[in-house]
């Protein structure tokens, strides 16, 4: 070989080798990532160096947990995979709550964590944490990459696993030397997942059996969860419910899968669900669970849940089926596909008696609050925002009473309209979620109904919203309490309000200090005006509504009771 040709051969080789960091960026772009969230640190510097001129929008939160919730909400709002990258040790540890939140609610996410150099692993090196060990139970899958040659494939696999089947967060731990090392680029697009199967289509015989059972049923009820939204099956659900003429109850995460303004909507079921949904479930002869998992907040006492009903369970996760409640007809597969098939086989039925009975419950026990009160009722604020946003806002929440009132009083009409931590119940989710959603959908009206204490947990992210000029609207339903905790103490601990209140700052001042718009409202008459002002803002706006302090969420199924044993129905009736 001549000297010249040897030289050109080696330069050709060089041009096709890349560093791990570059491979990460290239593979993210290959996977369609145009926005990501993350925070810096020593071992991720090689990666951040490659992000310097990558065509990816990058959002730095003020705390990794916030960033993780942002990526989660970005995913929930769009259906795309949310991406977060953080450093080793403390950075990775700060992801745990966010990953667990996403895991419980089946949100597709990919988290990349930096790790100390491969040869230091296990030595208690500076900023070393056993990230895969810590995050294993809160991810759908995780792994550490120890050879740069495996990097591209592993990232591809992560996106595939996160976004298919029952979605969930996937974490890849990347030692810094793997990000620095070079290798030939693997552009094969290949994956190696011999143990990963997704049941998509649902067994035709099960579908037919389900259809027969539905056609025979006199009093069917749909019990719909977040799975319908993940599957993008709202349209199919609506067609199915309307053709077969079946009332639809939804879980907290299922809200929006069926338009709550429609007559067949039974709204939310379960612990703080509507009386009519809970009565209907307890009285039905057929319960059709779609993309829901018989969570204890829904079923109450499992033994007496839907006692007269046969149960059809449609779910993509075989492990969800018969986990808590035995079912008669399981159909494993994608809800979209299965509902599309099912709709062909079901007959339209009047079910006049059934709907008349439900109408009676609806009339007698709607969600109510005392609208004549002179104080600001938290429900009134939600109602007012619902009116002024014409029910079209994208809504995020914290966790507590305000979350339940949001579920009860904001009528959701489309999927991915409500972003809330249902499974884990993570206080502090609301504000970063609103930010993640607004980043994803710049033109949407994004409202966060937050509790004072939930807001306290992640309010530092307000500064992120200001930096990116996001017009999010935060409505703090400020009762000066950990309201949900206070309610339990009132009902079950003899009103001993042990440690369930703290001294809060003036949130309007906090907002202004961080560069957002801050409004404080303590008069009922000012609520409408304040909401109007809030909706006009081009920058982040925080409204501190000083609401009735000791309002309770009704109805309520006390823990361990059947869902028809609701407390507070008399109180609600007295407000009629």
């Amino acid at each position: 070989m001549s000297a010249k040709s040897r030289k050109s051969a080696s330069s050709a080789e060089q041009s096709s080798t890349k560093s791990g960091a570059q491979i990460i960026v290239d593979t993210l772009i290959e996977q369609g990532v145009d926005t990501m969230f993350g925070y810096l640190g020593g071992v991720v510097l090689p990666l951040f160096d490659k992000l310097y001129d990558a065509p990816i929008r990058f959002i730095i939160p003020r705390h990794e947990q916030g960033g993780c919730h942002m990526a989660d909400a970005y995913a929930r709002a769009t259906g795309k995979v949310g991406v977060i990258v953080v450093t080793s040790g403390p950075g990775a540890c700060n992801l745990v709550t966010g990953l667990a939140t996403a895991m419980m609610d089946s949100v597709p996410m990919v988290a990349l964590t930096g790790q100390v150099r491969t040869e230091l692993i296990g030595n208690d090196a500076f900023q070393e944490a056993d990230t895969t060990g810590i995050t294993r139970p809160v991810t759908k899958h995780n792994c550490i990459v120890k050879d740069v040659k495996d990097l591209a494939r592993t990232i591809r696999e992560a996106f595939h696993i996160a976004s298919t089947g029952r979605p969930g967060p996937v974490l890849i731990d990347i030692p810094v030397d793997v990000a620095v090392n070079k290798c030939k680029v693997d552009s094969s697009g290949k994956m190696k997942l011999p143990g990963y199967k997704v049941w998509k289509e649902g067994h035709p015989r099960q579908i037919s059996a389900a259809a027969k059972m539905i056609n025979k049923s006199k009093r069917p009820v749909l019990y719909v969860g977040g799975g319908v939204i993940s599957a993008g099956a709202s349209k199919e659900l609506t067609k199915f419910a309307e053709k077969a003429h079946i009332p639809v109850s939804m879980t907290l995460l299922g809200l929006g899968s069926y338009d709550q303004n429609k007559a067949e909507s039974l709204d939310m079921l379960g612990m703080h669900g509507s009386a009519y949904a809970n009565y209907a479930v307890q009285d039905c002869d057929l319960l059709i669970a779609v993309g829901s998992r018989f969570d204890d907040r829904v079923t109450g006492k499992v033994k007496t849940f839907a006692p007269n009903a046969k149960i059809i369970h449609i779910d993509i996760d075989p492990a969800s089926i018969s986990k808590n409640v035995g079912v008669d007809i399981p159909v494993v597969g994608d809800a979209k596909f299965i509902l599309k098939e099912l709709v062909k086989e079901v007959e339209h039925k009047e079910r006049k008696e059934w709907f008349a009975k439900i109408a009676g419950w609806k009339k007698k026990h709607p969600f109510r609050y005392d609208s004549n009160s002179s104080t600001i009722k938290p429900q009134y604020v939600i109602d007012e925002v619902w009116r002024q946003t014409k029910g079209e806002a994208l809504v995020a929440t914290g966790v507590g009473q305000h979350q339940m009132w949001t579920a009860q009083f904001y009528k959701f009409s489309r999927p991915r309209q409500l972003l809330t931590s249902g499974g884990l119940g993570t206080m502090g989710y609301g504000l970063p979620a609103a930010i993640g959603a607004q980043i994803a959908l710049p033109d949407a009206t994004v409202v966060c109904f937050d509790g004072d204490n939930s807001f306290n947990m992640t309010m530092t992210e307000l500064s992120t919203a200001v930096e990116h000029e996001l017009p999010i609207k935060v409505c703090i339903l400020n009762n000066g309490y950990m309201g949900m905790v206070r309610q339990w103490q009132e009902l079950f601990y003899g009103k001993r309000y042990s440690k369930s209140y703290i001294k809060n700052p003036n949130y309007a001042d906090v907002a202004e200090a961080l560069g957002a718009k801050g409004i404080m409202v303590d008069k009922k008459a000012d609520v409408g005006k304040a909401v109007k002002e809030m909706l006009k803002q081009k920058k982040p706006c925080v409204v501190d509504f000083r609401v009735e302090r000791e309002e309770n969420v009704w109805p309520m199924v006390p823990a361990g009771k059947s869902i028809s044993e609701m407390d507070g129905l008399d109180i609600l009736e007295s407000m009629a």
Binding site: K140, H141, G195, D317, A319, K323
Partner: protein, 161 residues
């Protein structure tokens, strides 16, 4: 009730942690867990004995299958299986008792693998009940140490479809 479950898993670091972590997190009760290589270098076989009713068994099976690095899960419910444990046991066998002990070992098809002044070390394999019975029979003589592998199992060929 004890059930034997066998899982083919990817032969990669971290897989055992995934499986063990899942069992702990879901409060499943494991009696034994054996991991070993298979004829395929990319796969290992885990044989797990779990305690629980049918519902628990079904959940264990499904949750195992859900782990990404678990390739295939078999349970042996209703199937004729060969299940074996291997044990090394050190039994006290002073000269005056030695003939008795040797007879016992012979009855159980044990193999003496080491002999000392006071103790003999025996290798015994077989179904769990046999192993347990052997331990019981050895107790009166004095047991110094026991090491057991846990159960491994396969479906009988004669009953294969």
């Amino acid at each position: 009730m004890k059930h034997i479950i066998s899982a083919l898993v990817e032969n990669k670091p971290g897989v055992l942690a995934h499986v063990a972590g899942m069992f702990a997190a879901r409060a499943f009760n494991i009696d034994s867990l054996v991991v070993g290589r298979t004829e395929d270098p990319d796969l290992s076989r885990m044989t797990i004995v779990v305690i629980g009713d049918d519902r628990v068994l079904e959940q264990v099976r499904k949750q195992l299958a859900k782990i990404i690095s678990v390739v295939k899960v078999l349970d042996f419910v209703g199937k004729p299986v060969i299940a074996r444990d291997l044990m090394l046991i050190s039994i006290s066998a002073p000269p005056e008792k030695r003939p008795e002990v040797l007879t016992l070992i012979e009855m159980f098809n044990g193999k003496i693998v080491d002999v000392g002044q006071k103790f003999v070390m025996v290798e015994v394999s077989g179904p769990e009940e046999k192993i347990e019975a052997f331990i019981d029979m050895c107790r009166p003589y004095g047991i110094k140490n026991v090491a057991r592998t846990g159960t491994i199992a396969m479906v009988r060929h004669s009953k294969e479809a």
